[in-house]
Subunit: 444 residues, 4 copies
């Protein structure tokens, strides 16, 4: 039998805490999982610094990726049962799309690296481009597996992920406002953090999800299940993804890598503290193979070394990150942003370089999205086959989509609030700083 | 107020997926959690290589340690409600033991390092001794926190963990056949692997647990809950802890570190692949501070480097470990162990050095224990105050305690079963090897 | 010891699927549970006709009542730990209110009867008045237990339930927008129906709930948990409580009792089909004791008898109810209500008496309430002690509170849509009827 | 399309708390569910008096029956995917058996009545025979539905249930040591009581279950899942089904019906307290239609009436049952059974008729079975296709199967332990009685 259709003699099952089991029947899928590029995902946390706040959130991109694969598999299983295409153009499910969909689901995040958000910001990498490269570069094991299916198969899988694939059903199963990716990460992040808000009724959603000619929609009878998913997503952002302490640790990481870049772009000391695997990035001259050497553990190993590096800012920031000493933060808005220069001045007076020890951050800059008005809406199909948009029938969803403003925060060293022998600050300045903070907000 | 009794203004809660919340009220506990030695536990997986088989099992020693603390806290809360001592010697709970118990619960595993079982085997370290050292050495942050309580407090905490503390109730809460440690790891490992077997009724056990003059026992009415805990523990060993593929990955790790020791004990090349932080261990001359630099990520970082090291065995074993290529294994027993020399010979003929590519292993050598007859039994208290042992009233528990034999396995390269161009083996030897394997066992 | 403070030697625990255990320590509480009036609640379903749609929802008022008691107990336990009053008027928890609170929580629904909503509508009873009567009438066992505490204790308990008790903390714990009653029924109804929407984070809410001088509020840090509770409540109404088929079965029950009232108010045949225990209600002359004889099983027993009663409408409606044959329904609104007279006419032509076989119903007439603007709002306490209302900080809650309109439905016999030999209707009328129904709505 | 293959246009789903959803695709199945005989199961509790101890256990035979159907449906779905027969006699799944299997699964308990165990004991009915009668009698709605499939279809369905159907795979799916029936009731009873012991890994068991030529077996890799099911079953018997207070309430019910039989076999007063629907049973002359009028509510309605019946024993026992006043019990064995006559004598002296107020009972007489050595064993299939019995590879299962003795209890009025004004007993007799009871056992 040709490789594309080659099935395992006995279906392989992976125990999964969220989906109970992940079922693998295709040899191609098993071979992809066994590549070194995919195994690397075991060494990259799904939620980066969030596990420093929700200690249970220690799961990896690997777990999430097989979870997305499994949800896609179940969607297709449901489509096969209820919505198989009988003739081209009838808007139903064409089962010859199965393998490309499963591969894209499995591989959609394979380009993610250590602490992606901050890393990309500092080094100008882009995990989506790298995902494309891993799939299409002839040097990778993943590409070699995919090419065994057919020479153009890597490109097809890559095009599903970058949304240029012609079959919109396949694309929307992986990337849309309600897709396998989002469903898995919400459930998995909720499971591992232990918050209750992220759970929704996956099996009901699978039951009411259906193909139609322009993509994927949901039967009207499933409106409440879909609504509940949107609400859960909103709550996860508010509670977990936008958590101020997690953002604070991202700020520390950002400043730490910024400082390291200053130092290691020039110096090349061959001592134990040199971050060999990061040098290509500091120098701005890296290739795919360099990228694939990196993971959370590699970065942390350098940070551990840097705790003893003879640069005060680098070593201090490395300690703050590795030993989890977040900056403190408060909310501010237009009416109080005028205070920030003075607060930075006080911080500088107390001995902290404000370039490295302060920051502002808006939760809307984070790589998570609420249900957005400017994207393709979720649609519901009525009994007579006509479509209505979710927000037109759900006041809850309308309330969420309309939320426009983010949460602005100003970050600064915790020491400034409680000066001790280490902080060199006069009482009047200390009092001034404290006077502007009340109920977690800046006030005049 | 003195430091020992200093309480946080507002109880601090940590979201925990297993216990829902972990509650911290003592400043001492919060300060201990914030030490660098304790934060290091975030970077050490609780289950080592097991996450390579149960992909959800990516939780850390940190999560487990706060979980043990939380269970101990709940036990004490229950004792306070129902079993407070009224006079010395009445065999009830003396609440002045609370803080030492909580500290010991939190810190009982603080000496664990990366891949402890194998690491200790290769380098002769011992995580229990290191736990004692971390608590009692004046150089650690943990010792400094504990000393603020009182000068002899570190020693007291350490003595609870090494079971020499005079109050047996305190000791058995942390270390006995049914203690806070085991209860947390069973629940947490079950939660994260996703297997159903490890769950038992924690709240019922807390309800029926009680102090008595010689330690801790359980009310007769809770017999079934305790029995269920023992059965769950048994099932977790069978299903998770003794999993043959997990043991196979331990074998690979063992061989990898063994090879690295041969290489790096002598050479000191100052190149990127030198494992600086491991050198003290290869040289057999390390101190506590050296140990505290290590974690899973540090070891993995070296393994990633070694994939390109110019020693075939080292680089091949590093790839097998990092890219998850387990050895294959089969069960054997006394009647078939005579076959092993010949099988090793065939493996050698096929080009694998049997010192590095074969192994035998008995599950009973693993650092997990079934309910054992030679340890202090679990006791149940009847209505009239008399005690009976659990195994005298539960045939299930008796069945488990009596199981004496382990599961012997022989490990070898998977390639030997399906020779391809990479394996240099004649067909007759290949056939001979395969003939001896049936239903996962060696046969004559 | 006096009866009010008499504690059981060993705390009694009841296994509860929602709260795991219900803990009883007071003799008074155990004695109340053991009264015949309270045991009667075992024979009254919590959700009436809803179990005909969600078959798992077979739980009783008994289970709910002990659940409300348990939540109240846990709230008080939390108040005792964190918010004990030190001096009168400090707005904190006065623990001498404990017993009256627990009794009120346990007994708040003791006046509920079989199929309360419809029963009250037909017979003019009122379960809230009956609850008061059961507690305060010297003839009941419950009154006798309460009087042993003190002569005015029954009146105190009753006044908590009817909200005239002076301590607003006690009143709001039992009856407010976020009280022990609502929290238990949402969790329990969700658990038993199996829908996922009703779950929220009870332990978090208990953690952030606190007394203040005018009642009960929540700490700001718990905003999301409270918001999630409101959303869950909204979703339960939409999905479960307002389910159209459940309302349809209520319509059938209503018509059935209406017909029975016509028949049995006059006739008194002493035959097996006479509803002896209902006669006082048909005659409008009943006492508390008559009421306490009734339960779901008694009513159903009469319905079973009536399936053979020689009145076509009574026997047909009894069969429809007992054998679960709901009416069909469609939504209508102001723009389509003009069609109803003609539809009723067609139904009459087809042989159904429209007084008994049609109905209109608005979900807002049901005895459930969304989060309402005209009631005392839920308040959140900020760090500095000031209060803000929940809807001022949560757009989700605002979206829910603003929903003003209900869901109007017109009910009619299912046979009218698919005429068969039993329905005597000409094709043009049948076509006309069907033409007005599309996507579950009336259309012109 | 013929009725046997007629599918619903849109699959119908029932929300189920245990299986999440129950899926119905065949018109036949929906029609069966809508019969009056099947709807009657909503009014019969699954666990009878057990809900008086575990208050959550209020679920009905209806819920259980659709649950068994759903598990059978999932087993077949798995068989269709992996084990479809290719030629007669290959020992794999013959899909033409699907409908008969689903119908048998749905209907296997349709003959159960109110408080079956005790009812059958008193009136000589047999729910298994009645199940057969309901299916095969031309008068029932169920028979009419089944006959539409084919004239011999009712007999085929009935023969599956009474185990004479030739295809053993079909029979064992419904009735064997590990069948759809047992799996549903364990999970459902555990869910509703709230005990943790009854849960096992259903999806894993479905995964490893397979047909073979002599019935159904399990793949070796599922050994632990099957073992866990057996252990869970054992624990549910010990904890729930054999609960002494539940058995005590069965004793009260037994004595109550016994007394009623004495009274109503002769008298025929046409007053409100006459149990019209039970008269055919008291007279020993009933037909299927009489039986189908009965349910829990009907019996309870009579008991409520009887609380006021002018026979002291009948009214007292009715009150004890309706108001939940269990008898007390103690364990005894061969060495103490000689005490029973004297204890009965003391009870008689205190004014209780020992025929109605005492009883002995052995848990092994209850209609539940542990894993039994004399039934067809559970078999596991090894890699090479050979079978081994479960107990040969699992010491846990061996331990359970070997347990031979039951738990003997002696039941007596609680008043005898704490004589008050209502009990006419001299102190020496009272002391004598109490002296024989210790740690829940009779002693000499």
């Amino acid at each position: 039998m040709d490789y594309a259709h080659q099935q395992l003699k006995r279906e392989k099952v992976f125990r999964d805490p969220v989906h109970n089991y992940v079922y693998v029947k295709y040899q191609v899928i098993l071979d992809l999982i066994n590549t070194s590029e995919f195994q690397r995902l075991r060494r990259v946390h799904q939620l980066g610094t969030t596990s420093l706040i929700f200690h249970g959130a220690e799961h990896s991109r690997f777990s999430h990726s097989v979870g997305v694969y499994e949800i896609a598999r179940r969607i297709i299983e449901s489509f096969q049962k209820n919505f198989m295409s009988k003739e081209p153009g009838d808007g139903l499910w064409d089962d010859s799309e199965k393998l490309v969909t499963l591969c894209a689901a499995l591989l959609h995040d394979v380009g993610h690296g250590a602490y992606s958000h901050t890393f990309e910001h500092i080094f100008g990498t882009n995990h989506e481009q790298i995902t494309q490269a891993i799939i299409t570069s002839p040097t990778t094991e993943i590409n070699q597996v995919l090419r065994r299916v057919s020479p153009d198969f890597p490109e097809k899988v890559a095009s599903v992920i970058n949304k240029t694939y012609p079959n919109k059903q396949v694309v929307e199963m992986i990337s849309s406002q309600l897709d396998a990716d989002r469903m898995d990460y919400l459930l998995r992040d909720a499971y591992n953090t232990g918050v209750k808000y992220g759970t929704f009724d996956l099996s009901r959603i699978l039951e009411v999800m259906r193909p139609y000619k322009d993509g994927i929609c949901f039967e009207m009878s499933g409106m409440h299940a879909v609504e509940d998913y949107i609400v859960s997503r909103f709550q996860m952002y508010q509670q977990v993804y936008f958590h101020p302490v997690s953002r604070s640790m991202e700020v520390v990481l950002n400043r730490l890598l910024q400082r390291a870049k200053v130092i290691f772009s020039s110096e090349v000391n061959h001592d134990p503290q040199t971050p060999y695997l990061l040098l290509p990035f500091f120098k701005g001259d890296f290739n795919l193979d360099d990228y694939l050497q990196l993971d959370d553990g590699v970065l942390n190993t350098y940070f551990i070394h840097w705790k003893r590096y003879p640069d005060d800012i680098l070593s201090n920031l490395a300690s703050r990150f590795i030993d989890r000493k977040p900056l403190k933060s408060v909310k501010f808005d237009k009416s109080t942003s005028n205070l920030l220069p003075r607060l930075r001045q006080i911080i500088e007076q107390s001995g902290f370089n404000p370039d490295y020890y302060t920051a502002t951050d808006n939760s809307f800059d984070l790589p998570y999205d609420a249900y957005q008005a400017d994207k393709k809406q979720i649609h519901l199909m009525q009994d007579d086959g006509t479509l209505v948009s979710l927000s037109s029938v759900s006041p809850l969803v309308r309330a969420i989509s309309d939320r426009q403003t983010g949460d602005n925060r100003f970050f600064f060293p915790r020491e400034i609030l409680k000066p001790d022998e280490n902080v060199d600050l006069f009482q009047p300045e200390y009092d001034e700083f404290n006077r502007h903070i009340r109920n977690d907000q800046l006030i005049q």
